[in-house]
């Protein structure tokens, strides 16, 4: 470990020219450069919106409505805690990424490379399954009668084609995800406006603050072993699940946030000849310089807006809408609850759609399926991009022989592997052991990854960054609590019920 960590950036003299560097952990030191000016105004388009767009997925629209139907809106307080902790995590992810221009994976390697490889392995285990697109495709089949395989395969190929033919991949991903989340917010708002009522909104809001409520049947009784893990899984799906927060650091970099400005972006297949040379590590700014610190405060303001207004606000809004929807479904068709308890995994979707069809005509029932299809595709689109970014980042920097291929080629290699593997998996898993089962497996590993990255952030942000820009004690406590929250729930589920699913 380098002794200069923890102090101000240290200057070393090389030849006649002075190059100042910041020694962080075990990898190459970071050269000191100017922190770019933060954006003059806060804007709705940003990586935070991307994370919200990715985060508002099947957790909000499927897993949590399922819990609300089972246990009532009071269960939502756990969601509230989960999303708020995610807001804090997001700020800390951004702290490392904007200060260094490096991904959090690189930060993990600076602490100890095996930690990074652990996340590499988790990503592969969790994200190569096409669970999201499969569930979306199933919803599409319910609507149109067209086999879900067809929609799944077309959906996967479409992702590959869109990304391959884009100029700057990030811009396309941002535009598509932001538009789709906009359509989803508007669409689900309209459905809720057509089936809900004032009482449901009130029950939802009070439910968010019903701190401490825990359904007895999930703690003891014959169904506890089935219900408790369901809650744990849903908590992991509150907001951005699994490794999505880690990928946020890669989006920040491509957006050009903070020191990410110095790192080239991923370009489409047709623009790869314009690839710029990738630096072998990130950068640091001079934290002793008042001008740089002023800019840093500006970036933090930008990130806070991203985390609280865009991410937290939009996630909570969608949650309120979907809780209203779930309550409406239960009111219209009380049989939904029994169907879910009977372990019919498609019951939530079918039940909600059927209930809405009854209330607002076929209009609403159909719309609901369309939204689930869109969500499934959107999640897959966002995850495939992010997964490929993350794996390419780790492979490029830490497997030297493949470095000559360049970050771009590695990115596309991972992307097309996912697509082709996904298509193969759609046919292998089949419908019976299909989408919902895959999603349940994801939620366990996701929960583990979330606890693990909270611990990682404690390490990177306290050990690798200069003292002046480290998180304060309150944030550190919250991160530690978050780690305990995710890993503790998982451990309790395992030791109490013998299952982690």
């Amino acid at each position: 470990m380098d002794t200069s960590r923890g102090g101000a950036p240290r200057g070393t003299t090389e030849e006649a020219q002075e190059e100042r560097v910041w020694h962080a952990g075990r990898e190459d030191p970071m050269p000191i450069k100017e922190l770019p000016e933060p954006p003059a105004s806060l804007h709705i388009l940003g990586p935070g919106m991307l994370l919200a767009a990715l985060g508002v997925g099947l957790g909000e629209t499927y897993l949590w409505p399922r819990l609300v139907i089972l246990f009532g809106p009071e269960i939502r307080w756990l969601f509230f805690i989960g999303v708020t902790l995610q807001g804090v995590v997001m700020l800390e992810m951004a702290r490392y990424a904007t200060a260094t221009g490096e991904s959090i994976f690189f930060g993990a390697a600076r602490l100890w490379r095996p930690i990074m490889w652990l996340f590499f392995a988790i990503a592969v285990l969790v994200y190569i399954w096409p669970g999201h697109v499969a569930l979306g495709a199933q919803a599409f089949e319910s609507l149109t009668g067209i086999s879900w395989y067809v929609f799944g395969v077309i959906g996967l190929l479409l992702i590959g084609l869109i990304i391959s033919f884009s100029t700057i991949v990030y811009n396309v991903v941002e535009a598509i995800l932001s538009t789709l989340i906009g359509i989803l917010v508007i669409g689900s708002t309209i459905i809720a406006a057509l089936v809900g009522n004032l009482g449901f909104v009130w029950a939802t809001i009070t439910g968010l603050f019903a701190f401490g409520y825990f359904p007895q049947e999930a703690l003891s009784g014959p169904q506890a072993a089935a219900l408790f893990p369901l809650i744990v899984g849903a908590i992991a799906f509150a907001g951005p699940s699994g490794m999505q927060q880690m990928w946020y650091t890669l989006w920040l970099r491509d957006k050009g946030a903070g020191m990410g400005s110095y790192i080239p972006r991923i370009k489409g297949l047709t623009h790869m000849d314009e690839e710029e040379s990738m630096p072998s590590r990130g950068f640091m700014f001079d934290t002793e310089d008042p001008e740089n610190m002023r800019r840093w405060k500006g970036w933090r303001r930008w990130v806070h807006f991203d985390a609280w207004v865009l991410f937290w606000g939009i996630t909570m809004l969608t949650t309120i809408i979907y809780t209203v929807l779930a309550q409406s479904a239960l009111q219209i068709d009380p049989g939904v609850r029994e169907a879910i308890l009977a372990d019919d995994e498609g019951a939530t979707l079918n039940g909600m759609a059927a209930a809405f069809a009854q209330a607002g005509g076929a209009v609403i029932g159909g719309l609901f399926f369309v939204f689930i299809s869109v969500i499934g595709w959107k999640m897959t689109f966002g995850i495939f991009d992010a997964f490929s970014r993350g794996q390419a980042d780790m492979t490029y920097y830490f497997i030297r022989p493949v470095q000559r291929l360049g970050m771009n080629r590695l990115y596309f290699a991972f992307l097309w592997f996912l697509i082709l593997f996904g298509i193969a998996m759609l046919f292998v898993t089949g419908e019976e052991d299909g989408p919902a089962a895959i999603l349940d497996i994801l939620s366990v590993l996701s929960t583990f990854a979330m606890g693990a990255y909270c611990l990682l952030l404690l390490g990177t942000n306290n050990l690798l960054l200069p003292k002046k820009i480290r998180p304060n004690i309150l944030i550190n406590i919250l991160l530690a609590f978050a780690a305990l929250f995710y890993l503790g729930m998982l451990a309790y589920s395992y030791f109490r019920f013998g299952v982690i699913l």
Binding site: K33, E34, P36, E37, P38, P39, A40, S41, H43, I44, L45, G46, M49, L143, T144, I168, N171, A175, S178, T179, I181, G182, I183, V185, I186, G187, S188, T189, I190, A192, A193, L194, V195, G196, N197, L198, V201, K255, G256, S261, Y262, P264, E276, W302, V309, G313, I314, L317, T318, I320, I321, A359, G360, G361, A362, V363, G365, G366, L367, V370
Partner: protein, 158 residues
């Protein structure tokens, strides 16, 4: 771009498409055609008109671009009116609206729709921003093309 702004297309399109979304997809789901048309246009046209007004207010500098709070408030105020128009039209033509008759009164209907209007406003802003930003963003990206070691700035808008 200027012509686009003068025609107030972004707001109008966003509003209209939203309304048509409801009806258009109903057709897929098999609702009676006449009901689909009235439901779609009954919501789409009022929302399109409010979209045009929104653009006009933005051009006049009354609503700042890309800010969340004013747009959400705009949604809270206008969405209930659009929904009410839709319900009244459906009731007048088919003798039955969608939810108006189920509510305890017009006031509680409007309050609930107002809360939903908040969500509508946010969604409207996201799509509206995308339409407007598309060309502006491209121009910016071209201009901000990296030169050597120069940092990119994340955003250009002041």
């Amino acid at each position: 771009m200027r012509i686009l702004r003068q025609l107030k297309i972004p707001g109008m399109v966003t509003g209209l498409v939203t309304g048509l979304l409801v009806g258009g997809l109903a057709a897929v789901a098999g609702a009676p055609t006449s009901f689909v048309i009235v439901a779609a246009l009954g919501l789409g046209i009022p929302l399109a008109i409010f979209g045009i007004v929104f653009d006009a207010l933005m051009d006049a500098g009354r609503i700042p671009f890309g800010r969340i709070a004013p747009v959400a408030l705009y949604g809270v105020l206008t969405f209930p009116i659009a929904r009410l128009v839709q319900e009244l039209l459906l009731t007048a033509i088919f003798g039955q609206g969608i939810t108006l008759q189920q509510e305890s009164g017009v006031l509680s209907f409007l309050v609930f729709q107002g809360i939903m209007g908040f969500g509508y406003g946010i969604g409207f802003l996201m799509i509206h921003s995308q339409i407007i930003e598309l060309s502006a963003w491209r121009a910016y990206r071209k201009q901000a093309k990296e030169e050597g070691d120069q940092p990119r700035t994340a955003e250009k808008r002041a």
